[in-house]
């Protein structure tokens, strides 16, 4: 990644550093933790200040709060069925934690905590453990018939069951890698093209003019990244709903 002396430090932005000065240093409170707290505070603030006016005709903030509440509730009931209401708080929390992480990462000087596989895998592992516990709770040992579709020949059981188990276990991996890879790739691209702007601008008059190209690209990429931020949070939440549907209804 080096370009004769000057290096494009695309991955440095994901490095953890202690936040909040000496207190944070003492307890290893990093900027990722800080932005998780900010995300939580923003979500609670959105709902609290959005719900406070209690207007019949909602203002902007109230409309946003109501839209997000009703949108996620609808996603739960559409995907999981009537039982989905029970999982609404979980899906809502998950969606907003991921969404706020993605969106906060778009702000200058902010840190994208969803760009760490440790964070996304922890979320995905939580989802898969919950899904399995829900399935076991509702269906008991009948849950294990999930790994052998009825109607398949019994002779193929030694082949189908391991494949289905691996497929089931690969869900949290693909769920976490998708979110993490999207966030990392987007931020690396932004950083690389932003560095191009600086490097070209430092290379004389022609370079200053040429640097408009990566700058224009970065403007487009920023818009694209906002799309990805929403989309990945949505995908994470809806895949959680789909897995919960499988757990509740089995097949």
């Amino acid at each position: 990644m080096a370009a004769e002396g000057q290096a494009i430090d695309a991955l440095g932005q994901f490095k953890l550093a202690p936040a909040l000065g000496i207190v944070g240093n003492a307890v290893n409170f990093t900027q990722a933790n800080l932005f998780m707290l900010v995300a939580g505070a923003l979500t609670i603030g959105l709902l609290y200040f959005g719900a406070r006016p209690r207007a019949i005709v909602p203002g902007r903030l109230q409309a946003l709060a109501e839209l997000s509440y009703e949108g996620i509730l609808k996603m739960c009931t559409d995907q999981i069925g009537p039982e989905g209401r029970a999982f609404f708080p979980f899906v809502f929390t998950l969606f907003f934690f991921v969404l706020m992480g993605n969106l906060l990462g778009m702000m200058p000087y902010a840190f994208t905590y969803t760009s760490h596989i440790a964070v996304t895998f922890a979320l995905a592992a939580f989802v898969i453990v919950l899904v399995t516990v829900v399935a076991l709770r509702i269906h008991g040992l009948h849950f294990f018939s999930y790994f052998f579709p009825d109607g398949a020949p019994k002779l193929l059981a030694p082949l189908i069951i391991p494949v289905e188990v691996i497929s089931y276990l690969s869900r949290p991996v693909s769920l976490s890698i998708r979110l993490f890879a999207n966030m990392v790739a987007g931020h690396v691209m932004l950083k690389v093209f932003a560095t191009f702007v600086v490097m070209l601008a430092g290379a004389g008059t022609v370079g200053v003019i040429a640097s408009a190209a990566p700058l224009a690209l970065n403007v487009a990429l920023i818009g694209f990244e906002f799309l990805v931020a929403f989309l990945q949070a949505y995908v994470f939440a809806i895949l959680t709903c789909i897995y919960l549907h499988d757990a509740v209804h089995l097949h």
């Binding site: 609808k74 996603m75 009931t77 559409d78 995907q79 999981i80 069925g81 009537p82 082949l159 391991p162 494949v163 289905e164 691996i166 497929s167 276990l169 690969s170 991996v173 693909s174 890698i177 998708r178 890879a181 999207n182 790739a185 987007g186 799309l227 990805v228 989309l231 990945q232 949505y234 995908v235 809806i238 895949l239 709903c241 789909i242 549907h245 499988d246 209804h249 097949h251």
Partner: protein, 123 residues
């Protein structure tokens, strides 16, 4: 690179009761057709080779990334299981070899679940 949607997982995710008149995608599609935003659906049974990945479900790159992630994650899980079982049972290369094959099969199964035809309703 990232416009992947939840498209492929939809077919087996629609609520079986179907109380609210079809899934969100169906109603959105109907509303979009009414507004003339999409060409009318040709053939209700989906004559295209990958029916669950309709044109509105993001571009080819998103689908490709999605498929890649599914394949690689299944293989990674299988390799991890094989490696761990080998270390435990002392059969160093053999279970790993077996699980690499099984992991590839599971990856293909994942992809088929993503792009294959929707499951028929059971019972």
């Amino acid at each position: 690179m990232s416009e992947e949607r939840d498209g492929g997982d939809r077919p087996h995710s629609a609520p079986p009761g179907g109380s609210s008149g079809g899934s969100f995608e169906d109603r959105l599609g109907a509303a979009r057709r009414k507004q003339g935003l999409e060409p009318p659906r040709q053939g209700e049974d989906g004559a295209s080779p990958i029916p669950s990945l309709s044109p509105s479900q993001g571009n080819a790159m998103g689908v490709g990334l999605r498929v890649g992630v599914e394949l690689v994650s299944a293989l990674a899980v299988a390799v991890a299981i094989g490696w761990y079982l080998d270390g435990w049972l002392g059969t160093r290369p053999f279970l790993l070899m077996l699980f690499v094959v099984l992991g590839g099969a599971a990856g293909v199964a994942n992809v088929w679940r993503l792009v294959g035809p929707p499951k028929p309703p059971r019972r």
